[in-house]
Amino acid sequence: MNLTLIDGVIIVAYLFFTVSVGAVLKRYTKTSKDFFQAGRALPAWVCGLAFISANLGAQEVVGMAASGAKYGIATSHFYWIGAVPAMVFVGLFMMPFYYGSRARSVPEYLRLRFDEKTRALNAISFAIMTVFSSGISMYAMARLLQSLHVLDFALDRFHLPAARVFDLSVIASALIVLAYVLLGGLISAIYNEVLQFFLIVAGFMPLVFLGLKNVGGWQGVVERLPRGYTHAWQGLGHPPTNPLGIEWFGLVMGLGFVLSFGYWCTDFLVVQRAMAADSMESARRTPLIASIPKMFFPFLVILPGLIAIALPNQPVRPALHSGGQTAMAISSPLGQGIIPAKIDEKTGRAELDADGRPVLDYDLAVPNMLLHYFPAGLLGLGLVALLASFMSGMAGNVTAFNTVWTYDIYQSYIRANASDAHYLWMGRMATVFGVALSVITAYFAVRFNNIMDVLQLVFAFVNAPLFATFLLGMFWKRATGDGAFFGLLLGTSAAALHQGLTLPGGAEVGLKGGWLGAVVHQYPSQMAQNFWTAIFAWTVCFLGTIGVSLVTRPREEKELVGLVYSLTERISEKHLVWYKRPVTLGISVLLVAAVLNWVFW
């Protein structure tokens, strides 16, 4: 497909604006507090939209539509069960400790509450993970642009081969994110995230409107698809009777409790946005405000996937490499709806699964929807929405990385008593090498796909037990540093052990499980295995932390004031009218989420 001049104008305008925002904000970024904490001066709604936008990485917009096409509306569990309750919890119960303590980052909170080694463990694993995720975002975006052939004509003009699209995309996205984070730090990243939030909504709303109109509304989607696709909870009594292949308990505990609380309540990438708020009240409201759009995001990002699979099968059209006048969706024989089958690059034929059915390339659901419905003009806006989702995810990781590196690693272990100007300089340097490492990761992903899968697995093991540590740290004053540290190690080992001894049905022994030499249990699906790995890790960390804490010496209570629930003064909200209190907002959000679950039961 080819882009027209008008699409180009829209894309260039977007790129120009993101960098300009950074350039304008540069003069407000004078101290390290401005650079790493946005001066702690932003209103709640700005932090709230940045909070959700920073999470809108590659996996969100493209991945959730793909998942919608594969599993149906059950994907919304990742929002209504797997995000909203945790966001309400972090706002109401945990923000007082993050924002109210002197901590400037999540690992620093662990240092204040527990000890140096727990902080080091968290800071180092987190820093590596952010660089890795931002590299993966870059890689995914470059692969997408490459497969859509949207930039081929631009390269052709400079007599470069189309294969260079990957390099162009990686380098351009790295430079743009680098420019605006380097200039304005966290404020600039947050402002751009708010901008990107609105762009994502603006790009996807007309897509959902046109798609729904085409298939005859939600009723049309229901009629065209099998029943399981349009009901989120039906069949969740037993794994084989629902598309996710998991039972409700594993889903609610694994996804809804362990993984979701582990991410939204402890991941500095999102918590950093709330910590940039101008007051405790705003900081607490940030995740609550973020949960409102989050709740309705399934309609924006999952629905296009459902529509893509519900449409009549598309006639196969020859692939266009250059010279075509109009944009068209990528198609292949054996696809379903407008989702093409995966084509094996070596044989040129459709890939088949174990049952002989073609494997569908679900990741193309959203790009194909854009190409299917958007004329020149709006297509530029749709592509901007895609780019915005990748860039906000990347920038979110970069800002979290430079802060953790500078405060929790550099200032703690390399150079402790330098001037503020020195740390500001270090933050900018960290941004440069953080982005450089992400670029290296992106290229590494091309060459060594397997190593990337291994790394992703290791991160899952590290993350799974985290919430147990924070929960005990904030709500049990007896928990000790040794307890937290060894609890985390035990939890991570438990995750590895569980994953290494189990296997999802139909999978071969290897990365997917069973690599410890024996398969003790077969799970009906990989999702079920992942959720249960998380449940095991969390439980072992929880019990391990309690056990070790009980045999080690507790800290003086006066050192824990402001860090633990029972030793911290309750925040009074009496001065606020009842409907302005965070608690009211939190309860309303939960009620609406419950109603959504009921409507799509």
């Binding site: 008008i6 104008v9 829209i10 407000y28 402002y191 609105f198 958007f374 709006l378």
Partner: protein, 65 residues
């Protein structure tokens, strides 16, 4: 904070809205076959322009006060 976030949002959306609206007015109706015959550029351009102007209004109002 010296720069209200609504100002850059307002500027970008007003610009995008204007570009889409003008393009929608003068584009060949044939290109709207993909969008079910609806001139989405015009319709959505006007909406984005309106959103941009509202953002600019509030962004500048705060600065003035």
């Amino acid at each position: 904070m010296g720069l209200d976030v609504r100002v850059p949002i307002g500027l970008l959306f007003s610009f995008l809205g204007l570009v889409l609206t003008i393009f929608g007015l003068f584009s060949d109706p044939e290109i709207y076959r993909v969008s079910l015959g609806i001139n989405v550029n015009l319709a959505w351009g006007v909406v984005l322009l309106g959103f941009g102007v509202v953002m600019l209004f509030f962004g500048w109002k705060r600065r003035a006060s």
